[in-house]
């Protein structure tokens, strides 16, 4: 999970993490090419069409790839931050919906207000709603010892049905035709970031949050505590230096707030209204985005653009090379599996280097550095 090459060849962790990520991407391309060929498609044509759709022109890159990358960037940051503390928040999808609903509700409740008031207030409301949604699993984990994997997953469904209820009932558009909200007032629209493109301020906000999280993690005592708790919660507790409970709360709340922003920013920047099925599963794809970035906030910017490009290029791949767009989802899955496998290989090598063989025997002292181990309870 975290960049963790240990003693391996004395390489800098960042360098090693970059190498494994690059190797995973290459492996994915190779496997995807083989599968495409097996499916009767030309891998070269498919990849070329995908690249043209994602990067072919300035407008394709900015108005499609970067716009599609924005919700993945924010949810990816949310997941990466929580995972750094070993908080397995797979509830970004639900937190995103909570944030989207709160932002829309507030924006619709302030019809006459100016942008200088509406934008900060709606962004705050969305962040607060996302954090609130994350606070239920946080309370259950810290107060009752109930693992967050199942609780965050359950909260996703509650959020989806709540959204369904609100767009069918209380927040339904005035003309009452579709299950969607009214359009938000123009003052609540996020301004364009570049002239003559569809790119909105949300992308810049995402990059700023990435920088902020990186500075927090790398440069502050709180960030150090969070990384220490992530490396080994037990060691952190036993050392007596600090309690992990506040750290867990912080990672849940910050993670939820960023995911909440993702939902509202998508509406304020792109759709301008809330409807059923707003997200095609960004909260889950975010796990791949964060994982490929090795949970590093700045790297999330890059991997979100990679996944945004996959999404933007998928349509072109279907139109120009006749490869169904659904292949993109398969490629996403292959990336995750390749990264996990590369990590296991590196870890096995490191362990052999450190212990001189027998890598598959259990050593309880290493529990904190073992991969995965979400520990449901």
């Amino acid at each position: 999970m975290t960049p963790r090459p240990l003693a391996l060849a004395r390489l800098r962790p960042e360098l090693m993490a970059t190498i494994t990520a690059a190797a995973a991407v290459l492996a994915t391309l190779a496997v995807a090419a083989a599968l495409l060929a097996l499916g009767g498609h030309s891998p070269g044509d498919a990849f070329a069409a995908l690249a043209r759709g994602a990067f072919g022109t300035w407008d394709r890159f900015v108005s499609f790839t970067l716009v599609r990358a924005t919700p993945l960037l924010l949810t990816g940051l949310a997941v990466a931050f929580a995972f750094r503390a070993r908080v397995w928040n797979i509830g970004a999808e639900g937190q995103l919906h909570a944030g989207a609903l709160a932002g829309v509700a507030v924006a619709l409740a302030l019809p006459g207000a100016g942008a200088l008031l509406v934008l900060p207030v709606t962004l705050l409301a969305a962040a607060a709603a996302g954090a609130l949604w994350a606070s239920v699993p946080a309370a259950m984990k810290t107060g009752m010892g109930v693992g967050e994997v199942i609780t965050t997953l359950l909260m996703n469904f509650v959020a989806l049905f709540l959204a369904q209820f609100l767009v069918q009932g209380p927040l339904r558009e005035a003309r009452g035709v579709f299950n969607q909200t009214d359009e938000i007032p123009a003052a609540a629209h996020l301004p364009a970031l570049l002239p003559d493109t569809r790119l909105h301020l949300g992308f810049l906000l995402g990059v700023m949050i990435a920088v902020g999280l990186w500075l927090y993690l790398a440069r502050t005592p709180g960030g150090f505590r969070l990384r220490a708790a992530g490396a080994s919660a037990r060691a952190a507790e036993v050392s007596g230096r600090f309690s992990v409970t506040p750290v867990i709360w912080l990672s849940f709340l910050v993670s939820g707030a960023i995911a909440g922003l993702a939902g509202w920013i998508q509406i304020a920047g792109v759709t301008h209204r809330m409807y059923e099925g707003l997200s095609p599963g960004w909260g889950y794809t975010a796990i791949a985005v964060a994982l490929l970035a090795r949970l590093h906030p700045l790297a999330v910017v890059v991997t979100a653009i990679v996944f945004g490009a996959l999404s933007a290029g998928g349509g072109a791949m279907q139109r120009e090379a006749g490869v169904p767009e659904v292949w993109v989802r398969g490629i996403e899955a292959l990336v995750i599996l390749a990264v996990l496998t590369a990590d296991r290989i590196v870890q096995g090598m490191a362990r052999r280097a450190a212990h001189g063989g027998a890598p598959r025997r259990q050593r309880s002292g290493e529990a904190g550095t073992a991969p995965g181990g979400a520990g449901v309870q």
Partner: protein
Amino acid sequence: MTDLAALSSFLVAAVGLAVPLALAALGETVSERSGVINIGLEGSVIWGALGGALGALAMGPYAGLAAGAVAGGLAALAFAAFAVRLGTDQIITGTAVTIGSLGFTGAVFQSRFGATGLALELQTVPAWEVPLLSRIPVLGPAFFEQAVTAYLAYAMVPLLGWFLFRTRWGLALRAAGESPEAAHAAGVPVVGTRMLAAVLGGAMAGLAGAHLSLVHTGTFAENMSAGKGFIAIAVVVLGRWRPWGVFAAALFFGGAEALQFTLQALDADLPYPLFLALPYVLSLAALAGWFGRSRAPEGLALPWPR
């Protein structure tokens, strides 16, 4: 009389919707009891639906059900090869399997039937009326005029209860889930046990998927699993990791879903999305201990060997 008829049709729908949830959730119960949480269960369901459809086209509906189970088991085998054999994180691996399965089933379907989504018509599995039992008023038609998948689900409840809690193999499996260290020390092959449990769980989820394509709809559509695999994980929680509880929880989830259609049919202006959310809220309450002590197996999602 109309009230009784409405109740009866509601129950028929509820049981029909509960059957795939029960099958998948009973399978996931076995998997989780061995220490493996398979978030990729959704992948097994969609592969089961596609495998069922292709199998039915080739050899008829009953062969389709078998093909669906095999397809779901293979998806779980892929998951277990990474998450159990290689020891990658179960949650992330499962997410990948789900995402990839939704993508690749769509790719296979489109390459076979074209991208325009030509409506596929499959011969469905007929309902079997159980003599006498189906004559019970109201409950009879609901429980005993169902397809073979429903009877398989009923049969699995006592069978799994006996297997998990009354046999040595069941004990070994639960030991692998509670404390892989102790199980290993006692000579239980933890990796093999967990792989088998995960594959069995996937096969049952695949059967659930085949139920969707061959009993419920008579067709295949992309993403037709519609979260059933995820819901099954919630069903296991509400059922507190016990076969009888899981079956009851599946009926409850199925009932909440059926209520939606009944309310729509009655033109009742009730907020049915809130009914749909209710089972999930109750699952959270169950985890919080509102209905007595409820906890997941201690070793759930922990890799072995570490």
